[in-house]
Amino acid sequence: MGGLVYFSSGSGNTARFIERLGRPALRIPARADAPPPLAERPYILVCPTYADGAGRGAVPRPVIRFLNLAANRARLAGVIAAGNRSFGETFALAGDVIAAKCNVPVLYRFELAGTDTDIARIRDGLTTFWDTRCLIPA
């Protein structure tokens, strides 16, 4: 099975989601001066959304810096986006932006730290996703 990479700011929503998911995951540091980590195997990115009303700034800067590294893009298999439906049309927009930039699917969207239903669906979904992917010859 592939891995997980995530970003979470001081609000801690995505970090709490990852903790409840109970799968090993690599965290992208929030600090501007921290060098982005390198993903060493295929992974799914879990990313919150920070868009303004027009959709600008949807993807957090540390995530952009992480994806600017070609090696990290090459191993990205899909994105799970977090957000808040109260932001209307820009709900979980970071997922769409990353999907468009990196040509990967948006696998799932959830709000804030996710519900128990979200956690169960994503656990099952991740297992199936990587099992299916392993059958496809490289």
Binding site: S9, G10, S11, G12, N13, R16, Y50, A51, D52, G53, A54, G55, R56, G57, A58, V59, R61, I64, R65, L67, N68, A70, R73, G78, N84, R85, S86, F87, G88, E89, T90, F91, A92, L93, A94, G95, D96, V97, A99, A100, K101, N103, P105, V106, L107, Y108, R109, E111, L112, A113, T115, D116, T117, R121, I122, D124, G125, L126, T128, F129
Partner: protein, 332 residues
């Protein structure tokens, strides 16, 4: 309680001259992030063509119109409280000067929200029916009871963190018994311009609840384990008390339209989100939060409500909302 000192307690000497605010020296990056989002999202009700709803308004029954005006006066009351008491009460608790500046933006936008309901009224309603609804809200026991509970916390000078809890519940929970109705009308293609205005308010309140909840979490980290537990117990206890009032308010407003159970699911869903903003776990189980999909679609139109690639219900490549792909910093 080892909360931070309250500057309001020291009223003996002359007010010290504050340090001039320097936005190029941040103690907390979140302050600038939220300032930028709030100012980029600034709006005024004049931007929304409310007069396009005049025909739709005339097609509502008298009972539906009365309900709508009453709901909007209830929302006006909450915005008034947050503008004149809530956000200002948080300002002396601010840890950074930038937090205080963000709170002044929040306070002003609450005034814009309160003002925008009056724009709806002057566009769609007769003066007499609006005056009647304001009287109704001033006398409504449930509206007054929830305002009382919140105001009591704002006035508790000893606890900055309790003030933040009350504020997050107001911003992220108490508005939603009212927000439900314009989302309901919108899902039936009624009052769609008014719904656009309400969505702008919802967007603002979501940022307010998020930011104040974030500051609450920073404050909570400074407490000891038992103090943190005490604060969490207080938050859940206040959530229960407010929910009791909201449930009765909801029955009073929505029973006759047969919408009460639908609204309650929406309340459960939003109460959980308010607790999430504070960094706590959900109170209501998922089964109690199954909001009518038409309401969810009205809340975030065009965002593909049930998108789930894993279960095969969504499209595999969602591309189209591309405005944000042109942000700076992308290097490919």
């Amino acid at each position: 309680m080892k909360d931070l000192p309250d500057p309001r307690k020291d009223l003996s000497g002359p007010r010290p001259v504050p340090a001039a605010i320097n936005w190029n020296r941040l103690q907390d990056d979140k302050d600038l992030e939220i300032w930028n989002r709030l100012t980029a999202n600034f709006w005024l009700p004049e931007k929304v063509p409310l007069s396009n709803d005049i025909q739709s308004w005339s097609q509502l029954s008298e009972e539906e119109r009365t309900l709508t005006i009453r709901v909007f006066t209830g929302l006006t009351l909450l915005d008034t409280i947050q503008n004149s008491v809530g956000a200002p009460a948080l300002m002396p608790d601010a840890i950074t000067p930038h937090e205080e500046a963000v709170l002044s933006n929040i306070a002003f936008m609450e005034a814009v929200h309160a003002r925008s309901y009056s724009s709806v009224f002057s566009t769609l309603c007769r003066t007499a029916e609006v005056d009647e609804a304001f009287r109704w809200s001033a006398e409504n026991e449930h509206l007054q009871a929830k305002s009382r509970l919140i105001l009591d916390e704002y006035d508790t000078a000893a606890s900055p963190l309790r003030r933040k809890i009350a504020s997050v519940f107001l911003e992220s929970f108490l508005f939603y018994s009212g927000f439900y109705l314009p989302m309901h009308w919108s899902s039936r293609a009624r009052l769609t311009n008014t719904a656009d205005l309400i969505r702008l308010i919802i967007r603002d309140e979501a940022i307010h609840g998020y930011y104040i909840g974030y500051k609450f979490q920073r404050g909570l980290e400074r407490l000891s384990g038992p103090e943190r537990q005490e604060m969490k117990d207080f938050a859940f206890s206040l959530a229960f008390d407010l929910y009791d009032i909201e449930a009765r308010y909801t029955e009073q407003l929505y029973d006759r339209l047969g919408l009460t159970e639908d609204v309650k699911a929406f309340l459960h869903y939003n109460a959980n989100k308010a607790l999430r903003n504070l960094g706590f776990e959900a109170l209501f189980p998922d089964e109690a939060c199954k909001v009518n999909p038409a309401i969810m679609a009205a809340l975030s139109p065009g965002s593909d409500e049930n998108h789930d690639f894993f279960s095969g219900s969504g499209s595999s490549y969602v591309i189209g909302r591309t405005v944000a792909t042109e942000d700076d910093d992308w290097d490919f």
